[in-house]
């Protein structure tokens, strides 16, 4: 991987191959993040295009205080928010910055014994069944996981895509989305919990 300084120099020199490489690498993530703010994939694609236009136009002002990737994603988030406003879409602040306000159980409450149970309050009433490994490694299972991720709310989908599909660190995600550590973790945990449940439902 070239350094950020090398990448910026290549882009400024009009190196189309360098541009194509980062577009290929970042595009899925850029789309996921844009879709937190705008409702359709088509709009998200437009937001990504507008983002690159802004990024290229502002390249002279990139100072390297954050990574190039973080900088590009910050510009994407601003572009997407502006676009969402223009489309008359209100993004509830809580959807990204206060997810804990609306509690969500990782596992359905009726799978646990009642809080006042004599011997085992809050214990498993219906413990997780073993997931057969031969089903987990089947190709259809990967398709099922992709579908489960697609079905998530956009903010959870973006965080799990960046962290667990793309392998970003928690700091990278927090910086790119301007999220607190706690909120990033809440969104990630909810997303992972739902995918695990989808796997259990599918293979057992």
């Amino acid at each position: 991987m070239p350094t950020d300084a090398e990448l910026v120099a290549a882009l400024r020199a009009g190196d189309e191959e360098a541009f194509r490489r980062i577009v290929r690498e970042w595009h899925p993530s850029l789309l996921r993040v844009a879709q937190i703010f705008v409702p359709t994939r088509a709009l998200a694609e437009e937001v990504v295009q507008e983002t690159w236009l802004r990024v290229l136009g502002a390249l002279d002002r990139f100072e390297g205080r954050s990574s190039l990737k973080t900088w590009v994603f910050r510009i994407l988030v601003n572009t997407a928010k502006t676009r969402a406003q223009r489309e008359g879409r209100v993004i509830p602040f809580s959807s990204l910055h206060d997810p804990a306000r609306v509690p969500e159980a990782s596992v359905d409450a009726d799978r646990f014994l009642a809080d006042n149970h004599e011997h085992h309050p809050g214990g498993w009433a219906s413990p997780p069944p073993e997931l057969p490994e031969d089903r987990l490694i089947a190709a259809e299972t990967r398709e099922l996981i992709a579908q489960a991720i697609d079905a998530l709310p956009a903010n959870q989908r973006a965080v799990i895509s960046l962290r667990d599909v793309e392998g970003w660190s928690s700091d990278e995600v927090r910086n790119a989305l301007d999220l607190s550590e706690v909120n990033q973790r809440v969104l990630l945990h909810r997303a992972r919990s739902k995918v695990r449940q989808a796997l259990e439902d599918y293979v057992t």
Binding site: E45, L56, S106, G122, A146, D164, R185, R196
Partner: protein, 91 residues
């Protein structure tokens, strides 16, 4: 010793990502480990959670469609030609 209330299974499942990220307080980490040590259901749950994360890592990110790539290359080319030509057209 402070009397720390034991964690229930229902509470534990909410803490798994914090556990995996090393974000639990020392007291909560101890409650977590003590619970896991004696609970088959939660041991299985934690193993499944880890396996789920591994499997998510095998999902291929959405492809960049050829149309989208072309549109972005156009953005780059028009920016590039303006850069080389100095002032933007009409300005």
């Amino acid at each position: 010793m402070i009397d720390v209330e034991a964690l229930s299974c229902q509470e534990l499942v909410e803490l798994v990502t914090e556990y995996l990220e090393g974000a639990l307080s020392p007291a909560d980490l101890r409650r977590f480990d003590e619970h896991i040590g004696g609970c088959d259901g939660c041991t299985e749950y934690l193993a499944q959670f880890r396996r789920t994360i591994q499997l998510i890592g095998t999902v291929t990110p959405d492809d960049l469609t050829p149309e989208a790539e072309l549109a972005l290359l156009e953005v780059f080319r028009s920016w590039n030609s303006q850069e080389l030509g100095g002032a933007p057209p009409g300005g």
